[in-house]
């Protein structure tokens, strides 16, 4: 409860700061550079949840622990949500800054593939009837999909050829304005916090759903509790 309140205050402060405290970066049409405070953290959370989902899938295959599968599923769901948010917000920026909503820029290509993998993951989950099979198949698919990602480095043109602004927008490089950097890092924390909070809610909901299914109370209670198994 207290976390939720703190998070909403922090989030509000970041939104206000993004529009009134930080200055708009030079070299961008109008106020468009302020997308940095929303779009980049969304993309970061999408990537984070993809990674988390893959790790949880590995754990599920090794231990067959129901908790790990719940984590993989919830991370994938939230990943899809943030992926869509990042795509939509990036697309609006692309129209304003580069002239068209979609340009097949390297990062746009990779996010489309990520969206397709997530889509396939949920299609697979919904098509397998047996719950145990469903979990194993989803985990296997998630690992397979992750294994193909490195090959994108070869096919997608180098990041230097990207339309994405690098120097004034990358906090690792010295070109960023200190005010912008502060708000950006605050926003990263806010979005990661939001992700963790939503993930915990989803995990609690999944646990309750399992408890409602009569078979699971008997068969997998030990797994749900975690300590006894």
């Amino acid at each position: 409860m207290i976390v939720k309140v703190l998070l909403s205050i922090w989030m509000t402060a970041i939104i206000v700061a993004a529009f009134f405290y930080a200055d708009a970066a030079v070299g961008f049409p109008g106020e468009t550079s302020r997308i940095l405070f929303f779009h980049v953290p969304q993309a970061w959370v999408a990537t984070l949840s993809f990674l988390l989902s893959m790790i949880a899938s590995c754990i599920y295959l090794a231990r067959r622990n129901l908790k790990a599968d719940n984590l993989a599923l919830s991370a994938a769901e939230l990943g899809l949500l943030f992926c869509l948010l990042a795509t939509a917000s990036g697309s609006i920026f692309a129209k304003a800054a580069w002239g068209s909503f979609w340009n097949w820029d390297p990062r746009e290509t990779s996010i489309v593939i990520l969206l397709m993998i997530y889509g396939a993951y949920f299609a697979l989950r919904s098509a397998v009837g047996d719950p145990d099979k469903r979990r194993v198949f989803a985990a296997v698919y998630s690992i397979l999909a992750f294994a193909t990602v490195p090959f994108l480095v070869f096919v997608v043109p180098r990041i230097t050829a990207s339309l994405h602004p690098e120097d004034t927008m990358n906090p690792a490089k010295p070109g960023m304005d200190p005010k912008t950097l502060k708000v950006f890092l605050g926003s990263l924390i806010a979005y990661t916090g939001l992700f963790v909070w939503m993930l915990k809610l989803r995990l609690r909901l999944l646990k309750l759903e399992h408890l409602r299914e009569p078979g699971y109370i008997i068969n997998e209670k030990t797994n749900l509790e975690g300590e006894k198994g």
């Binding site: 295959l61 593939i113 397709m116 993998i117 889509g119 396939a120 299609a123 697979l124 098509a127 397998v128 009837g129 047996d130 145990d132 099979k133 194993v136 198949f137 296997v140 698919y141 690992i143 397979l144 999909a145 294994a147 193909t148 090959f151 994108l152 070869f154 096919v155």
Partner: protein, 237 residues
Amino acid sequence: MKSGRWITETGSSTYLSEAVAIWLRDLRGEFRTRYAVNAILMFAVTTLIAVSFSIGSFRIGDAEQPFLYAVLLWIILVFSALSGLSRSFVKEEEAGTMDVLKLSARPQAVFLGKLFFNLTLLGALELIIVPAFITMMNYEIQLPGLFTAMVISGGLGLGAGTTIVAAMIAQASARGALFSVLSFPLLLPLMITAIKGCEKAALGTNNPGWPEVRIAIAYSVVMIVMSLFLFPMIWEE
């Protein structure tokens, strides 16, 4: 995974001999029914005719031909493969022979046998469709060696990436559509690489070492190794 299941094993059968036995059995079954061959080949021929009829060999300007023809060729190959390659496992599920197969061979051997079978199908597909495409579209290729290597390694990658997906969707509902949906994101890096390689072969830009062919082979090796690790888990479920 559970090694106790093969107590009766005499030691005379190896992974490879079991895999070859499954491969030959599938080939024999395929010769009798010709289901997968017909499905894949007719799909490919129909698509090729549709493409050739609507575009012809003069519509696309000379400058764009190397790239656009490579795109068309790989779209035909990938989607023909997606239309029929799931057959290898769906067949077992429909005939109810899945359980017997689980008892009679080790999981990795089953995977390899099915992989060989799918690669045979893909080889037959490419042997017919690629020359037909080249003649019908009047596709001029400057480096036939690179082109052949790209087609072969691309076919290897197609088989490597889809066989384990076929094993999963055979046990799911809505099989046909699901196979394409699941396979396509996995095949996309391979497809883009193969298109690039074929374009270079047609243009005659000879990069030493054929990087595209090597990427396709690396992709195949990664997918086969991952599948050998992961296949027992979906097979035992």
